[in-house]
Symmetry: C2
Subunit: 115 residues, 2 copies
């Protein structure tokens, strides 16, 4: 399992990634993070929903309600905004920079030059 300290600040990025193509909602995003990461990262509900609130306040996402076809239960869907896309791009660039920096301080155990 993954330490939440390194993910910290990147949960928003991960969520935005999952909204790039189509709107989605909490439960679905949670399951997709779980499966895409190969069960290695499981986002907590509270973390997820507080990220939604924060990002909506920041204008990175917009929410709307939709009914399920099967039942009358409502879901809150989130749609990424242009500002959200811009933020996502910035974070991707930042990630690449940060990765380079951190790796200067990380020992490479696996000395096989596998490409």
């Amino acid at each position: 399992m993954i330490s939440s300290d390194i993910i910290r600040g990147y949960n928003d990025t991960i969520i935005l990634y999952l909204l790039l193509d189509a709107p989605s909602y909490g439960y679905e995003i949670s399951k997709r993070i779980r499966s895409i990461s190969g069960e290695k990262y499981i986002i907590k509900e509270t973390t997820l929903y507080s990220a939604f609130t924060r990002m909506e306040k920041n204008g990175f996402i917009e929410s709307f309600y939709a009914e399920k076809e099967e039942g009358g239960k409502r879901r809150t869907y989130y749609r990424i905004t242009d500002a959200g896309r811009a933020y996502y791009s910035e974070k991707c660039e930042e990630w690449n920079l940060t990765k380079e920096v951190i790796e200067k301080f990380i020992a490479k155990e696996t000395a096989n030059g596998n490409a």
Copy 2:
């Protein structure tokens, strides 16, 4: 400049890396982080010294005093312990895992296969 949210939890790892070969002290470590990162990451003094305190409490480092040759001013040196080396190794492994996971959610803009 690098967001401290992603570094969070890895400052300890970075500091331990700089102690692997020889003991060192705050000011020197701070300057080495700065230069090794190519001025891209500058650790704050408060962050650094609170990391020392935390890690000493956790048994990852040990402190001792030494005088400077030039003057009578004391420095607090830190030496990595076996537990510290073990922790550093764990964090390196964790980093590699985390990196893989995060990259599943990061767009690769630069499509040039530059080695």
